[in-house]
Symmetry: C2
Subunit: 196 residues, 2 copies
């Protein structure tokens, strides 16, 4: 069942291996896809046998989940610093947020795409990913309020616009035109903010 974590803490040498496994998985994700990436491949890339990998992670899904968690942590970090920019106009703040997100997709594209694609299959990854989008949406809700929107509407609008941004940048990160896609998203944020 792969539910029993054999190794709870263990601060020994094997921690390097744990990182090596995640690094290999990320590197693999950058040239292949999620599909052909097998436990065998990851283990070999990390210089250990398939069975040994199961000493560090309970299952293949656990590896992917840890990889997503690691990247999402970076995302949340960067996102927090950016959302506090209360000095410029709401539309400008939104544009800055979208541009920052586009940078994330440019730098962490493979893992972020994997998160999107694995969300339907791996509940824990869905939790992580939805949580991140939710936090973004919350931050942007305050921006919409600052722009004069009242009641429940800003929350719902921000949520929808965040999912738009996610989806559009997801596709753009595959085709390469992230810059243009980001501008389009920013424009829709702007229009939503400024319209009556």
């Amino acid at each position: 069942m792969a539910t029993t974590r054999k190794r709870r803490d263990a601060p020994r040498k094997g921690d390097l291996r744990e990182q090596a496994i995640l690094d290999t998985a990320e590197a693999l994700l950058e040239r292949e896809h999620v599909e052909p990436m097998t436990v065998e491949t990851i283990a070999k890339g990390a210089g250990i046998s398939r069975a040994s990998l199961y000493f560090y992670f309970g299952s293949k899904q656990d590896v992917l989940t840890a990889l997503v968690a690691r990247t999402v942590a970076v995302l949340d970090e960067d996102a927090r610093t950016a959302s506090v920019a209360t000095d410029s106009a709401p539309a400008e703040t939104a544009r800055a947020a979208v541009l920052l997100t586009a940078k994330m997709w440019r730098e962490h594209g493979p893992v972020m795409r994997a998160a999107v694609e694995l969300s339907p299959t791996v509940p824990e990854i869905a939790r992580l990913w939805n949580g991140t989008v939710d936090r973004y949406a919350e931050a942007m809700t305050t921006v919409l309020r600052r722009a004069g929107l009242r009641g429940d509407e800003p929350a719902a609008l921000a949520r929808a616009l965040c999912w738009m941004t996610e989806r559009v940048l997801y596709h753009a990160s595959r085709t390469g035109d992230l810059a243009a896609a980001a501008e389009t998203c920013a424009e829709i944020w702007r229009r939503t903010i400024t319209a009556a």
Copy 2:
């Protein structure tokens, strides 16, 4: 490799089986998920053996692709009739289109969700799904133009808004609040259309 279609035309009795297989797959999709749905399950549901299923479809992916194709055909059909509503104001036309799409998600939710979730894995399903979204986006581009938008912008905006609608309704079709989600999307369409 499952690339060789054993049965190209064959207008015999087995056609019923072909439908039965797709119907079973759809029914299965309605209560389980894509993941646990196995060829064994589908075959058993259709009253044949696993090996017999491979007489009708070259692979499991072929079954899913055919199922998506069948549903997408209905979608395109309904979408065409709705996009020709040139009598009302652009924002109203957009709202009507979103509401119609929401109806699709309500009626064909499981298959449409499967299409979204399988797109990254099955290229042919991606082709079908992206094609449908593209046709929607094209139709809505003309609506944006009718609202006064010029140049390349309306195409890019319509595209982004269509993906927003897809994503938001996808999530809503899982949680059940399609009506509210549709109104939120419609509002963003409206604001994008009416904003300066």
